[in-house]
């Protein structure tokens, strides 16, 4: 795959040309924060953003999607999104999360609805220029990324180093006016990436990410869950803003003929009251603290077991900022466990 250098002006031309023929969702300001939104012009793009409000997972797993429609007489029609689109400005930690979700949605059961969108997508990632207030991706080893993207951009001041990660990225990059990246450009890129691997660390984890599963193995009855959950609203904000929370609910609803209808899938969250409610109103995690604990076990133990040990907290820090009572910070919880239980 090629590694090119593209000037800022050539990049703006490249994006403005892309917009003419493709749907591009790029990072743009939303009030005082940032957000992925349909891009109308390269000048609206803000690749110097710190973090987006929601992670880009909603482009692959929409907050609500119709899986199928049924006619009430035994016939149904699956519903798929077939639109090609470009996601522009994905940060490395979010790219890692997408890589993880790709495995989750294709490994045991191939989820066609997710995978169709994923295969329709072209992802242009970019290295972080402005660390967000709560980012700790460096602690998780996810401050930079080496795979999953079609193109990775790194701002080196007078332009971008653009690395194609796939054939799709290569072909796309060929449409831009570029030169081969020289040694100096690559040095600048390496410097920025090395700095990020150190500096994207507003909350410092006291152990290696790979220590977390064992730590949790010994922490199921630790008082921290009960203590922190005392002020938990069960609002699920830590779930909704998390790039690796993918739980969903599926519901049927009828049209006015009271026969035909649709089956929809919506985001769900393990912190929410009723999340574990099943038929007969039986609920096996009705306790706030049990639900609070569960999220940490998902990120640090259960999901890693599906991902060859990779911890499924990428250190984006969104949950830290989204949690009003300030109890969601994974680093604080894991550090507390390290202090109390030690490392083996």
């Amino acid at each position: 795959m090629s590694i090119k250098k593209i000037t800022k002006q050539a990049f703006a031309n490249f994006i403005d040309n892309l917009i003419k023929t493709a749907t591009v969702y790029g990072v743009q300001p939303k009030g005082e924060r940032f957000d992925f939104a349909p891009l109308a012009s390269a000048k609206d793009l803000r690749l110097d953003y710190d973090v987006t409000l929601l992670p880009p997972k909603r482009f692959f797993q929409p907050t609500t999607e119709t899986l199928l429609t049924f006619d009430g007489e035994g016939r149904y029609k699956s519903n798929f999104d077939n639109e090609n689109f470009i996601l522009l400005g994905v940060h490395p930690y979010d790219m890692v999360a997408i890589n993880q979700m790709d495995k989750i949605f294709s490994k045991d059961y191939y989820d066609e609805h997710y995978m169709k969108r994923r295969n329709n997508a072209t992802i242009i990632a970019c290295d972080v220029l402005t660390p967000s207030e709560n980012v700790f991706a460096a602690s998780m080893g996810m401050a930079t990324v080496s795979e999953g993207f079609d193109i990775l951009l790194t701002d080196i001041g007078d332009g971008y180093v653009a690395e194609a990660g796939t054939e799709k990225g290569n072909a796309l990059l060929a449409k831009a006016e570029t030169t081969d990246a020289n040694e100096k450009d690559l040095e600048k890129r390496q410097k920025l990436q090395q700095d990020n691997q150190k500096n994207l660390n507003k909350h410092k984890l006291k152990c290696k990410p790979s220590d977390i599963p064992n730590l949790l193995e010994r922490a199921y009855k630790h008082p921290v869950w009960e203590e922190k959950a005392k002020t938990c609203f069960s609002c699920g904000s830590c779930n909704t803003v998390c790039p690796t929370c993918y739980c969903f609910n599926v519901q049927d609803s009828f049209n006015w003929d009271l026969k035909s209808g649709k089956r929809q899938r919506t985001w769900d969250g393990c912190l929410l009251d009723g999340f574990t409610k099943v038929a007969g109103e039986h609920e096996f995690r009705s306790n706030r603290a049990d639900r609070f604990r569960h999220r940490f076990y998902r990120k640090g133990k259960y999901v890693p077991e599906k991902l060859n040990g990779q911890i499924s907290c990428v250190g984006c820090g969104r949950c830290v900022g989204a949690c009003l009572p300030d109890i969601a910070n994974p680093v604080k919880v894991f550090n507390r466990l390290v202090d109390d239980l030690g490392l083996l």
């Binding site: 005082e32 609203f233 803003v241 006015w256 929410l272 009251d273 706030r288 009003l324 009572p325």
Partner: protein, 252 residues
């Protein structure tokens, strides 16, 4: 006679704005009145009936004669639906429960306060008086939710009413948290289902859908302190829709 369910709409103490939301269904109202026989609905038609399957009750219960009328409706209906905040949680009518009723009457009616036809008692929600099968929350109700619940009732399916707070829908709307802007938003303790309409327009949640089943009020107080705000402000804001009760559930 058709075998469509016979539906009657009744109002008690309220502004009738929730009924107006039904009138305002636009093209969907044709679907609704095609699927049911509406036999009484004072806001939309002249006919009356004492024979109905489904009673939709709007408003809160504030007078002894209201209670009698509600019992009569309950005895006639197979299914009873509480429509809107006044019916589901007592609504803003419950504000008066914070004061001495004699003072309340004086403030509202002045020199006529003691006249017998202006008699009033503590406000109760419909569910505090009779068994309610379905609750349709909100001030006013959400039209989409109303038609969804009606279709669920007509098909015998249990409607999914969110048990979680407004924050869920607010986050899904990609909104910045209003607490970050200094607003004491009630979103974290109030039942979702409105699509976070107010916070999405920049206004804090006023709490019109009532508390979630298990609101963490103590956490709310902690957060107030953390943000350097006044807990009395929070209490006052909770009073608007939350006077005198923390939660209600439907029996159906």
């Amino acid at each position: 006679m058709s075998n469509k369910p016979r539906v009657a709409v009744f109002d008690f103490a309220c502004c009738e704005g929730c009924q107006l939301q039904i009138v305002n269904l636009e093209e969907e109202i044709l679907d609704l009145i095609g699927a049911v026989d509406v036999v009484e609905w004072r806001e939309a038609m002249s006919e009356q009936s004492s024979n109905y399957d489904v009673a939709i009750i709007e408003g809160s219960i504030t007078r002894p004669e209201d209670e009698e009328r509600l019992w009569l409706i309950r005895s006639r209906a197979k299914v009873l639906i509480a429509l809107g905040a006044c019916a589901t949680i007592g609504g803003i009518n419950k504000l008066k429960n914070n004061f001495d009723l004699r003072d309340v009457k004086k403030w509202v009616y002045g020199k006529d306060a003691e006249k017998p036809h202006l008699n009033t008692e503590l406000t109760r929600s419909v569910a505090q008086v009779v068994k309610v099968d379905y609750l349709i929350h909100g001030c006013p109700i959400d039209r989409k939710e109303f038609t969804y619940i009606m279709r669920c009732i007509l098909t015998g399916k249990k409607p999914e009413i969110p048990e979680w707070p407004v924050c869920v829908e607010c986050k899904l709307k990609d909104n910045r948290c209003l607490w970050e802007t200094g607003q004491t938003c009630l979103g974290p303790i109030i039942r979702a289902g409105c699509g976070a309409r107010c916070p999405s327009s920049g206004f804090r949640c006023f709490g019109c859908r009532g508390y979630v089943n298990n609101p963490n009020i103590n956490a709310a107080k902690d957060v107030i302190e953390r943000y350097g705000l006044d807990v009395e402000v929070l209490k006052r804001k909770m009073n608007l829709f939350g006077s005198g009760n923390t939660q209600v559930t439907a029996n159906g």
